[in-house]
């Protein structure tokens, strides 16, 4: 059974009195434990699509199902609860909370969203810090970390609550190509170890070779789908 199912999704934005279609009848399905990328030029609808999967936004029409839940039907509170339980986020600008250390940033979803007991929190955070190679930087604040290190912490934060799917919007856009490749490798390793589905957007053609399932978007339309072996 597919983890993410999009059925004829459209999304329109209003700019003044003009309707701008961001997605025009997009349908796809993503299996669990996939490593998926949406690739396309700027304005092609990648971020809009990730926002819809992450139930940060609702489609204008069509149906988006994640882990069996029609995410377009959730209200603010239900949406927050669903995201906290099922979805991890990695942002282009890392979006770590500046007043928290690397350890605390990773711990945040367990503490503030999932209310996990302290012992369990410690175990999971320590395990992930080691997994992303940041154990020796645990006490540092974001402003003391490099871009690559921040993104490692962000990956750990996205995974710590054991989500079914991790969404990453241009996770390598602010990194140099070497670090970008390392981050993608890390995400892949995490997928292999934890069987978590990773869906990320990128406009970088070079990274397209790293993914197993690639959706190409253009002007809000899904142009092609390619599996890794194809």
């Amino acid at each position: 059974m597919s983890l993410v199912v999009a059925e004829n999704i459209t999304k329109d934005y209003w700019v003044g009195e003009v309707v701008v279609p961001a997605l025009r009848g997009v349908s796809f399905a993503i299996d669990p434990a996939s490593f998926v990328s949406f690739i396309g030029p700027s304005g092609s609808g990648k971020t809009t699509l990730l926002n819809l999967i992450g139930c940060l936004d609702a489609p204008t029409s069509g149906r988006m199902t994640v882990a069996g839940m029609d995410v377009g039907s959730l209200d603010r509170r239900q949406g927050a609860a669903f995201r906290g339980a099922n979805i991890g986020f990695i942002f282009q600008d890392f979006n770590l909370l500046p007043v928290l250390t690397a350890y605390e940033n990773i711990e945040y979803p367990l503490l503030m969203v999932r209310n996990v007991p302290p012992e369990e929190r410690r175990r999971r955070v320590t395990e992930l810090l080691e997994a992303v190679g940041m154990a020796d930087q645990a006490g540092k604040r974001p402003d003391q970390l490099s871009g690559g290190q921040k993104q490692r912490v962000a990956i750990a934060r996205a995974l710590v609550a054991d989500p079914k799917v991790v969404l990453a919007d241009e996770p390598t856009a602010n990194l140099d190509s070497r670090t970008a490749r390392t981050v993608i490798e890390l995400m892949k390793t995490m997928r292999d170890q934890r069987r978590t589905t990773f869906i990320f957007s990128t406009h970088d053609q070079k990274l397209a070779t790293e993914v197993e399932v690639l959706f190409r978007l253009e002007d809000g339309l899904l142009q092609s789908r390619r599996n890794g072996e194809e």
Partner: protein, 412 residues
């Protein structure tokens, strides 16, 4: 909640200068209010003490209509001896009354054998009077601190004007109830410092001398002054005494007495009320200061952290926790300002008291200012500050919690 509080505190420390500035503003406000409350409160308490303890007592009982004519010291509105005896019995049986003093008040002519002038006199039982108005003895600036039969205490202004000294013989001439005139010789036993307020320039003689001078076949009383054991229970005791007296003396729906607390008798009560109103407005200014400062800081905090709020919301932080986070930041600002303000305020009050500042009040010179704040007053001020801080944070915090994550994340 502890973890949320930890994050809130770190967020405040993140903008040290702004936090410090806002906390300083609140501190200044709290210090200002504390000092104002302490100084005005002490001034008020001292003045009330001076008025009640040196001449007026806490409560007074008169025959109905007496207070309206008090300036004329009418003799036809006195309490008869039988009624007074019953009142005295009731008052003596009350455990909450420290002392009571019957007074026979009248106006007369004061003569030093060379010239004469008007004088207002109180006939009193000295021991009962000194117990009821304990500061009276401290007003005796020359001579004996008591009044024997045949002796008179005269106000300093009269002594100066009539060139009379302690030990000098004087004559008091008074008109009796029936219109006849009688005179009696007295020896000046002491000279009284004048005080501001009704009765502040009266002389004192023994009540039996007064009755004799006024040719009263049976003792009559103009007023009974009452001193309570606990001044803070003024109103309830006043109510109870009124009820008791009504039960005893009301006949045919007519109550022949009037009973007043000092508030109904002294014009200083209006000044005291004015001080209370001023204190209220000063507190209102503090509320406005805290409200504007905290509101401004919290609006800025929300505006600057929109993306952060978006991240927290996207991760799944419940809106209630985002609301609590910002409320806790406002609360912390209020607590910080109130605590520092309290510490600085109390330190300044100590300095003020160590400086031995004196002031004059009417005829009284060199009264020592003893500024002090009731701990409950400080608690009330601190609670106001904290509550207002929380209220000021409410709108920005609510805005943060209602923010759409997708909009917040797009914010640049």
């Amino acid at each position: 909640m502890t973890d949320l509080y930890k994050i809130a505190l770190r967020n405040l420390l993140r903008y040290k200068r702004r936090t410090l500035l806002t906390a300083s503003l609140i501190t200044v406000g709290v210090v200002f209010v504390l000092i104002f409350v302490a100084v005005s409160g002490s001034f008020k308490a001292m003045m009330i003490g001076q008025i009640t303890d040196s001449m007026m007592g806490h409560i007074q009982i008169h025959k109905k209509g007496y207070v309206a004519s008090i300036d004329n010291l009418p003799l036809n509105l006195n309490l008869k001896s039988q009624a007074f005896a019953r009142m005295d019995e009731i008052l003596r049986n009350r455990k909450d009354i420290e002392a009571s003093s019957p007074r026979l008040k009248f106006g007369g002519l004061f003569s030093n054998f060379a010239e004469s002038t008007n004088v207002r006199l109180n006939g009193v039982y000295p021991e009962r009077e000194f117990k009821t108005v304990p500061l009276l003895t401290s007003r005796i600036i020359e001579g004996k601190k008591t009044i024997g039969k045949g002796e008179i205490l005269i106000p300093a202004l009269l002594a100066k004007g009539m060139k009379v000294k302690v030990g000098d013989p004087v004559v008091i001439v008074a008109t009796n109830q029936d219109g006849s005139v009688n005179g009696k010789q007295f020896v000046v036993a002491g000279i009284l410092e004048g005080v501001t307020g009704p009765g502040g320039r009266d002389g004192y003689i023994h009540i039996e001398d007064a009755a004799e001078l006024l040719r009263m076949p049976a003792l009559e009383i103009s007023e009974i002054a009452i001193r309570l054991k606990d001044f803070d229970r003024l109103q309830p005791v006043f109510q109870e005494i009124t009820k008791q007296m009504e039960a005893e003396f009301r006949k045919d729906d007519k109550f022949p007495l009037e009973i007043h607390t000092w508030e109904g008798l002294s014009p200083f009560f209006n000044i005291a009320r004015m001080l209370d109103v001023m204190t209220f407005f000063i507190k209102l200014m503090l509320v406005a200061l805290v409200l504007i400062s905290v509101l401004n800081v919290m609006i800025m905090a929300v505006y600057e952290r929109i993306r952060e709020i978006g991240t927290m919301a996207a991760i799944g932080t419940p809106p209630g926790k985002i609301l609590s986070l910002f409320m806790l930041e406002g609360l912390s600002l209020g607590v910080l300002g109130a605590l520092i303000g309290g510490a600085v305020g109390f330190a300044l009050l100590s300095v003020l008291n160590l400086s031995h500042i004196t002031f004059d009040f009417g005829l009284q010179k060199g009264l020592l200012l003893r500024a002090s704040v009731n701990p409950m007053d400080f608690v009330a001020i601190a609670l106001i500050v904290i509550l207002v801080s929380v209220v000021a944070s409410l709108e920005p915090a609510f805005k943060a919690s209602r923010m759409e994550p997708i909009v917040a994340l797009r914010h640049v």
